[in-house]
C-alpha cells in the first residue's frame, strides 16, 4: 500500500489570492512529485504539492518547495550575449547569436568532419528537448558527440540494465518499494536526495514494521541512521561486498535454481568470479564485520520480497557498473524480479535524466535502439525519413572522452545546455583549460560559472515557463504545463533547438524539414510513433491522459493503457539479438561485444549473469595524500545551486561549503570545530571550514559539491580525479586521495600574554586555542612559547530535514 493520506505542502508568497494553479511536476530530484504552480498577475508566486498524484500525494521536498524563487530572480538572463574582441560578453540579438552559432557549426563540420560538434545537455530538461537533440544530432549533424550531465549522475543505470536485461528501463518501481519486505539502499542517501520517497518508505515502516532496511554507505548519513542494518564499508569496496554476499547466499542454498536454469545464462562464470570472496576476505577488504555480513546475507537470502535501489554511492564509485550488475545478479539468482515487491530499482540522479536516455538525447538511438544493429538504424532511417547510411553507427562518446578530444583539437564547437560543467565535472582545472580552447555555447537561464568560457550565451526558459514531459526514476512520464511566459527575450530550449535546425536547413531525404513539429506536444506525438513496439512503448500516452491520470509508467500501450508497474513480469528479457539495445560489453574492460560474440552467448530472451571482477579505485590514499575524499549532495541544495542558491531560505541555511572530518582524525590533527582548513589533492586545493563529527568514518572526508563560485576556493571538483567507469564512463567522484592542511598563524608569547588575551586578540574561543595547541586547561604559558592560531573557526551548523518524523 502506498501513502495512507495526503499532505499538501505549499510555499507561496503573494499579496492576495492566487489567480490560478497550473498542473506541473517538480523539476528537482528524480522522485517525480506532482505539483501545481501558483500564478498571480502572470507571475509565478509559489508551488503546492498535488494531493492526487500517487507518487507524493501532495508532499514536496525542501528544494522542490523553493524552486520557484529562481524564476523571479533579478539576475535572469534576458538577452543573448556574444563575447567580443576584448573578451567581454556583450548583449546581442537572437539573430546575431544564432547566426554566429550556425556559421561556426558549418565551419567546424567542414574543417573537422561530423564528430567535431558536441551537444552536452542536461537531466533537468524535457523529453521533447532531448528527442529533438537526438534527431538534430544523429540525423542533422551526424555526430556521436551527444552527451549530458546524466553521464555524471545516471549513465551507470543505463549500462547495468543493458548488460543484464538487454534494454534500459529500471525493472521495479515505487509500487514495489511499497510492497517489499527488504529494501536495500545501496549507495543511496534517500533521506537527503529524495526526501518524499524516503518519507513514503518510513511512513510505511513506522506503521507496519516493513521494510527491513539495509543501508550501504561509507558515511553515517540520515538514511543510515534509520537503517535496521548499516553496512559502513570502506570507500571503493562495493564489489567486494556484493561478491561476498552473493557467495554467502549461494553457499547457503538460497538461490532459485529453476529460475536460474530457465531464465538466465552465465551462472557458472558469475559464480567463479565470486568464489574468492570468502566472508573473511570480504570482511577484511570492506571493513564490515563478519557478523554483519551474515546478517545481511540472511536478510537478502531468505526474504521473498527484495527491492534494491542504487544511486551515486554506487554510480560514482570505482567499479560502478560491475556493482550494479552484481545487484542485478543477486536479484536474478534469487528469482526476485518481475513480481510485486521485487526487483532492482536503479535510480536516476535528476528529474528527467531517464528521459534523455530513453529518447536518445544521449547514448543509444531513440527508444532503446542499438547503434550497432543495422536493422535498428534502418528503422530509425525509415521513421525519420533519412538515408540509413547517413546515421552514425556505433557507441557515443561520453563527456570525459570529449574533453580529451577537445584537448587534441578534434572538437570545434561545444554546445552546453542547462548544465554547469565548470562546477560539476571532476578535475575542474583540466576542464576549464579544455573549454577555454574551443568555441562554447552556454544555454542557461543564468550566468553560471561555465559562462566564463562561453563565446555565446543564450538565455533559456525555466521550469513553469515551458510545456513538456519528463521521465522520473521509476519510468513514470509526468506532464508539465506552461504556467507563465518566460521573460521577454527569453526562449525555451525547445524553441532554440527548432530555430537552430531551421537555420541549418536540416532536411529529410525528400527535402522536407527534418524537424516537422513546432510544439512540444506535436514532438511527443512523433516520439510516440518512434517508441511503438520498443521496450519503452509510449504509444498509449497523450498529454491529456498524463494530466488526467497524474503520470503514467511506461510501457503504455493499447494492452496496458494505464501503464506498467514493473518490467519482466513475463520473465522475457530484451536480450534477443534483434531486440537488444546493446550487444553488451566485456564486464571488465568495457569493450563492446561484436554481433557474432553476442550471438554465441545465445541469451535469446534470458537475462545475463555477468562475472563481477573487482578492480580497486585507481587513486588511493598515500603518504602524501593520506585521506579518502568523497563528494556528494546536501538536502538543501541542488547540484551547482543555479536554482537553489536563489532561494533565500535555502541559501541562508547552507550558504557555504565545508568539509566533514571524523572526530578521531580531527583529534589527531588537533583541529577545532569550524576551523578553516586547506584540503589538497594532486589536482588542486580548496579552503573550507571543518565540520567535525562521526558522519564520516576515520580516514574519509566529505565535501559537498554544490559550491563552485569563482569567488573563493570551495569547489569540490578542484580536488576530484577524472577517472571513469569502464562501461558507463561515469566519473568516479567518490574516490580520490587528499590531505588536510592546517591554516594557522603563529604567535610567540610575550610578557603579559595569557591564553585568554591571545584568544581575544585573534577573536577565537579560548577552548579552541587550547585544543589547537593540545594544551591542558591550566597549562602555564611561557614567554617565547609559540602558539598555533587557527585563521578562523566558525561552526558549521546545518539543520536536519526530517519533517516526516513528526508526521508518521
Amino acid at each position: 500500500m502506498s501513502w495512507i493520506d495526503e499532505r499538501v505542502d505549499m510555499n507561496v508568497y503573494t499579496q492576495g489570492e492566487v489567480d490560478r494553479w497550473v498542473y506541473s511536476t517538480c523539476n528537482i530530484c528524480s522522485v517525480g512529485c506532482g505539483c501545481q504552480i501558483a500564478v498571480k498577475n502572470d507571475k509565478i508566486v509559489g508551488i503546492r504539492g498535488n494531493a492526487n498524484h500517487p507518487i507524493n500525494r501532495g508532499r514536496l521536498g525542501p528544494k522542490g518547495e523553493n524552486q520557484w524563487y529562481a524564476n523571479n530572480s533579478t539576475d535572469r538572463l534576458l538577452t543573448p550575449l556574444i563575447r567580443n574582441a576584448s573578451g567581454e560578453l556583450e548583449p546581442a540579438t537572437w539573430d546575431d547569436a544564432m547566426s554566429l552559432i550556425v556559421r561556426k557549426t558549418k565551419e567546424t563540420l567542414q574543417q573537422k568532419g561530423a564528430n567535431s560538434v558536441a551537444i552536452y545537455s542536461t537531466g533537468q530538461g524535457h523529453l521533447e528537448d532531448y528527442y529533438t537533440i537526438g534527431k538534430i544530432g544523429r540525423a542533422g549533424l551526424h555526430t556521436h558527440l551527444l552527451d549530458a550531465n546524466t553521464r555524471l549522475c545516471t549513465a551507470t543505470t543505463e549500462f547495468c540494465l543493458l548488460q543484464s536485461f538487454g534494454a534500459d528501463g529500471t525493472p521495479a518501481s515505487y509500487d514495489d518499494v511499497d510492497e517489499t519486505d527488504v529494501l536495500m539502499l545501496f549507495g543511496h542517501n534517500l533521506a537527503e536526495t529524495g526526501t518524499v520517497l524516503f518519507e513514503r518508505v518510513m511512513q510505511r515502516k513506522k506503521r507496519t514494521g516493513k521494510p527491513y532496511l539495509i543501508v550501504v554507505d561509507p558515511r553515517l548519513t540520515p538514511t543510515a541512521k534509520e537503517a535496521d542494518l548499516h553496512l559502513q564499508l570502506y570507500p571503493g569496496t562495493n564489489v567486494p561486498l556484493l561478491n561476498g554476499l552473493i557467495r554467502m547466499i549461494v553457499k547457503s542454498g538460497h538461490i532459485d535454481e529453476s529460475f536460474i536454469q530457465n531464465h538466465t545464462i552465465g551462472f557458472n562464470k558469475m559464480l567463479a568470479s565470486v568464489e574468492e570472496w570468502t566472508p573473511e576476505k570480504c570482511a577484511n577488504v570492506t571493513g564490515i564485520p563478519i557478523e554483519q555480513l551474515e546478517t545481511a546475507s540472511a536478510a537478502l537470502g531468505q526474504t521473498s520480497k527484495l527491492v534494491t535501489t542504487t544511486l551515486q554511492g554506487t554510480f560514482q564509485s570505482a567499479d560502478a557498473t560491475t556493482a550494479c550488475v552484481a545487484i542485478n545478479n543477486l536479484h536474478l539468482i534469487r528469482g526476485l524480479i518481475g513480481k510485486p515487491g521485487c526487483g532492482p530499482l536503479h535510480m536516476a540522479g535528476q528529474p528527467s535524466s531517464s528521459a534523455n536516455r530513453t529518447v536518445g538525447g544521449v547514448g543509444t538511438y531513440p527508444a532503446h535502439r542499438n547503434p550497432q544493429n543495422p536493422k535498428h538504424l534502418q528503422e530509425m532511417a525509415r521513421l525519420w525519413n533519412v538515408e540509413e547510411r547517413t546515421l552514425p553507427a556505433g557507441p557515443e562518446k561520453g563527456i570525459e572522452d570529449q574533453i580529451s578530444m577537445i584537448e587534441r583539437g578534434e572538437i570545434g564547437l561545444f554546445w552546453n545546455i542547462g548544465t554547469n560543467p565548470l562546477v560539476s565535472l571532476p578535475n575542474r582545472p583540466r576542464v576549464k583549460k579544455a573549454l577555454e580552447s574551443v568555441f562554447v555555447v552556454v544555454q542557461d537561464p543564468f550566468l553560471t560559472e561555465t559562462s566564463a568560457v562561453a563565446d555565446v550565451v543564450l538565455p533559456a526558459a525555466l521550469w513553469g515557463e515551458k510545456e513538456g514531459t519528463m521521465e522520473n526514476a521509476d519510468r513514470t512520464i509526468n506532464l508539465l504545463r506552461k504556467a507563465v511566459d518566460p521573460p521577454e527575450g527569453v526562449k525555451s530550449d525547445f524553441e532554440i533547438l527548432l530555430d537552430f535546425a531551421r537555420r541549418m536547413d536540416f532536411r529529410d531525404k525528400d527535402g522536407r524539414p527534418l524537424i516537422g513539429y513546432s510544439t512540444p506536444e506535436q514532438c511527443f506525438e512523433e516520439w510516440k510513433s518512434v517508441s511503438r513496439g520498443r521496450p519503452c512503448d509510449m504509444s498509449g500516452i497523450t498529454y491529456e491522459k498524463l494530466e488526467r491520470h497524474n503520470g503514467l509508467r511506461w510501457p503504455v500501450t493499447e494492452e496496458r493503457p494505464l501503464g506498467t508497474p514493473r518490467l519482466y513480469s513475463d520473465l522475457r528479457f530484451h536480450t534477443k539479438a534483434d531486440d537488444a539495445q546493446s550487444y553488451t560489453k566485456d564486464q571488465f574492460t568495457g569493450r563492446p561485444l561484436t554481433p557474432s560474440e553476442y550471438a554465441e552467448l545465445k541469451p535469446d530472451g534470458r537475462a545475463i549473469l555477468h562475472p563481477t571482477r573487482y578492480s580497486p579505485p585507481p587513486e588511493m590514499p598515500t603518504a602524501a595524500y593520506p585521506f579518502w575524499l568523497t563528494t556528494g549532495r546536501l538536502v538543501w541544495h541542488w547540484h551547482t545551486r543555479t536554482k537553489t542558491a536563489r532561494s533565500p531560505y535555502l541559501q541562508a541555511i547552507a550558504p557555504n561549503a565545508y568539509v566533514e572530518i571524523n572526530v578521531e582524525d580531527a583529534e589527531d590533527l588537533s583541529l577545532v570545530p569550524g576551523e578553516l582548513v586547506r584540503i589538497a589533492s594532486p589536482r588542486g586545493w580548496i579552503e573550507v571550514p571543518a565540520k567535525i563529527g562521526t558522519t564520516v568514518q576515520k580516514g574519509l572526508i566529505f565535501v559537498p559539491f554544490h559550491y563552485g563560485s569563482w569567488n573563493g576556493r570551495q569547489a569540490a571538483n578542484e580536488l576530484t580525479a577524472d577517472f571513469v567507469d569502464p562501461l558507463s564512463k561515469q566519473p568516479t567522484f567518490k574516490q580520490s586521495a587528499c590531505r588536510i592542511e592546517k591554516i594557522r598563524h603563529s604567535h610567540t608569547l610575550t610578557m603579559g600574554d595569557t591564553l585568554q588575551t591571545v584568544a581575544d586578540h585573534y577573536r577565537i574561543r579560548l577552548e579552541d586555542l587550547i585544543k589547537a595547541n593540545r594544551l591542558s586547561a591550566d597549562h602555564a604559558v611561557q614567554v617565547g612559547q609559540t602558539l598555533d592560531i587557527p585563521v578562523s573557526a566558525a561552526n558549521v551548523t546545518l539543520p536536519a530535514y526530517m519533517p516526516y518524523l513528526n508526521q508518521v
Binding site: 561530423a114 547510411r389 552514425p392 553507427a393 574492460t589 569493450r591
Partner: protein
C-alpha cells in the same frame, strides 16, 4: 591486401611493445590497459593470416578487425587516464609512459590508415558497423 597486412603488422608490433613495457604495473588502470592490449594482440595474430589472402572478403576478418579497433578506443582512454595518475603521483615511470603514448598514437594513425584502406576496398556501407566512425576518413 599487402598494404593492409603491413599496416596491421605495425599495429601488432606497437601493441606488443606497449603491453610488454607495462605488464608489471599494478595500478588498476594499467591492468586494464594490459588486458585490453593482450586481447588486441591476440586478435591481430588471428587477423594477420587472414589478410594474406588477397581475395578475402571482409566477413572473414570482420570480428577481429572490430575488436582491434574497439580495443584501441579503450586503450586511448585508459592509458591517458593512467598517465594522469602517474603525473599526479609523481611516479618515476611517467617519462617512459609519455614515450609509450607516442607509440599508441602511432598505432592509432596506422589504424586510421587501415580504415581508409578497408573502406577503399570494401566500401563504406560494409565497414560502417565494423570500424568505429572516429577512425574513418572524414567525409564531407
Amino acid at each position: 591486401m599487402a598494404e593492409l597486412t603491413i599496416t596491421f603488422e605495425a599495429v601488432w608490433a606497437s601493441a606488443i611493445q606497449v603491453e610488454r613495457a607495462i605488464r608489471e604495473a599494478d595500478n588498476p588502470l594499467a591492468k586494464l590497459c594490459v588486458t585490453v592490449l593482450s586481447e588486441q594482440v591476440q586478435q591481430l595474430e588471428r587477423l594477420l593470416p587472414k589478410l594474406a589472402d588477397e581475395g578475402a572478403a571482409l566477413e572473414v576478418g570482420k570480428r577481429e578487425i572490430s575488436i582491434v579497433y574497439h580495443d584501441d578506443e579503450l586503450i586511448d582512454s585508459y592509458f591517458r587516464s593512467w598517465l594522469r595518475h602517474l603525473k599526479w603521483s609523481e611516479d618515476p615511470f611517467e617519462p617512459e609512459a609519455e614515450r609509450l603514448l607516442t607509440v599508441l598514437e602511432e598505432m592509432k594513425s596506422n589504424l586510421k590508415e587501415a580504415a581508409r584502406l578497408l573502406e577503399d576496398r570494401f566500401g563504406y556501407d560494409a565497414v560502417k558497423y565494423v570500424i568505429p566512425f572516429f577512425y574513418m576518413p572524414i567525409h564531407h
